[in-house]
Subunit: 328 residues, 2 copies
DNA sequence: GGACAAATTTGAAACGTTTTTCCGGACCGG
DNA sequence: CCGGTCCGGAAAAACGTTTCAAATTTGTCC
């Protein structure tokens, strides 16, 4: 039942295998009459093309790889959803790999992708080292950087302006009258955290008081609240490097009897779904996550399907302020 | 640079292609000396096996498919993370497809998976119709049902006891002294929502007052709060079919000045990360989501790699009550 | 009606592995 | 020292497509 090949279809339709292949791949090259015959045979026999054979002979596959840093983070989930949408529409399969913050795992995953002969790879690199990616590209696998600006103009990238986002956040806080502002962040080895701080300080005009946590989770946010409270003098406002931190912080402050936004204003980053749903809804910097995934995939597939006309682009989206209760 | 094949390696190592293949696939069949030579050649030439050629000849691939209903839902995200972990460990690639609740899209995705000749498929079916899956299995593609009990004993499935979970939830609420309880749910066409209600009513001893929403999102939860408030008499407790609904409801109630848990106790379902982080932390029914993904993948790969000894299993996990502030 | 061009279709040779059969030599006991 | 066994490695035949040149049919124009 399973082993219906192109030859069986050919026999059934009374044509040669080559013609069947043409019907499958260049329908316009074959006369309507035979095309109909072949399509009927395909349907009757339940023929399904053998992707591997096709890939082997044609030299390229219908799959792309997606390598993210943390599939559990709603940010990446949204990106992934966007990627899957576009890829699926164009008949591409998406091979998902999660580097889980481990450089070694990322490396292993890229090897698997190379073995699968993916057409291209979408990746949010876990560090700045471009060497692994250059190796992929040397293999003829297109690479598009996601949420990371390209380091050179010979490749595509899709990112969001984190410096601008940081500026917007702090400008908004100052607009509500905040004088003293604290920046609560994840590891400052992460480019996003760094850039957001840089933007924030540019708007602030001088260095910010920084609380750096080891992770960017609700739990870490709650710990940050304790730290903030134990340090004594409360700031007028807090800028968190992402919403998970902000939600945890919000909970920690509320518990200690600190009222948000009355005592302390609070702004997050990412505008994940839960930002609007928390007890005090969270002002945040919205990133076009879904769009990020979609555009990155479109760029990648354009590079694959139209290598001749493809022009590499480094796209930078602008984030957007979403004002809610936590800063009102 | 890219096109180093097994022959090139063979030439370099001074052996035949067949021997290289043996080193790659059955290292124990080849003498240590030649194995070392071949491995050196592989390293020097940067050889990467051509997965498609391998699949074509060997008749089976190193990929599995994962078809989920909504990649945006933290529940599925956790499952996906578990799947990816196990698959990646065993050298399998995961092709992700998101049916987004659409039967047609699910069907298209399954076709793509069939073309890719995946070894097996993990699927949370979007409806009860087993026909599509039987077709896959007729093709020799193993299928494991995720978060859905198998309808017949000739296949594997991994699910969580939703009836038991519903019972646990309502028993807990009654234990805190609640007399009147409302069930806030998503569409009752969804098996999970139905089962949870069934369990809840079994514990309650009579039909529950039900508020059925069109979606299972925070927004829908907030609308449910409005509905609840407009209907006048507040219950002692509310059981929500998932945490997203519960978080939205919590926000809606809090806004209206209703105190949780003092005026109304509240329990959710899933125990997503944000349940612990909300302003009033949420009591919930925890499902072993990550485990669900892991075990399902282990079953699938066992079925693929040891077809002889494999015994189909229908695994049913028990959910677990996590008590937090919203019911204290 | 014939000649030439265009449009279709054919047939066979790849693509890079795995697998199976087969062969030469090393090793063993008698 | 001989015959039989084993073991490691070689050679060649698949696997199911796509592709390309060649062959055939169809169509056009005088």
């Amino acid at each position: 039942m399973s082993d219906v090949g192109i030859k069986d279809v050919a026999a059934r339709a009374g044509v040669s295998p080559g013609t069947v292949s043409n019907v499958l791949n260049r329908p316009e090259k074959v006369s309507p009459a035979t095309r109909a015959k072949v399509e009927a045979a395909v349907r009757e026999l339940g023929f399904v093309r053998h992707g591997s054979a096709s890939t082997l002979r044609a030299g390229h596959s219908k799959t792309i790889g997606l390598s993210v840093i943390d599939i559990g983070n709603p940010f990446f989930t949204d990106v992934t959803a966007g990627v899957e949408e576009v890829a699926s529409d164009l008949g591409y399969a998406v091979i998902l790999s999660n580097s889980a913050g481990s450089r070694a795992k990322e490396e292993r995953n890229l090897l698997v992708l190379a073995e699968q002969r993916v057409r291209g790879v979408l990746i949010t690199p876990s560090d700045e080292d471009p060497e692994r990616l250059d190796r992929l590209r040397a293999r003829g696998i297109a690479v598009v950087l996601v949420d990371h600006p390209a380091h050179c103009p010979d490749q595509c990238s899709v990112a969001v302006n984190d410096i601008g986002g940081g500026m917007t956040a702090v400008r908004h806080l100052m607009g509500t009258g905040a004088k003293s502002i604290v920046y609560v962040t994840g590891p400052l080895t992460i480019r996003q955290c760094l850039d957001r701080r840089a933007g924030a300080e540019r708007a602030y005009g001088r260095p910010l008081r920084v609380i750096e946590m080891g992770a960017m989770t609700p739990r870490a946010g709650q710990q940050a609240a304790e730290k903030l409270l134990s340090e004594g003098d409360l700031p007028d406002a807090v800028f968190c490097a992402n919403d998970l931190l902000a939600l945890g912080l919000l909970r920690g402050l509320t518990h200690a009897g600190v009222r948000v936004p009355h005592d302390v204003a609070l702004i997050g980053y990412d505008d994940i779904d839960f930002a609007a749903a928390s007890a005090v809804s969270l002002t945040s910097i919205r990133q076009p996550t879904h769009q990020l995934g979609r555009v990155a995939t479109e760029l990648l597939l354009d590079e694959c399907d139209n290598p001749a006309t493809h022009a590499h682009q480094q796209i930078m989206f602008q984030p957007e302020l979403v004002v809610r209760e936590s800063t009102r």
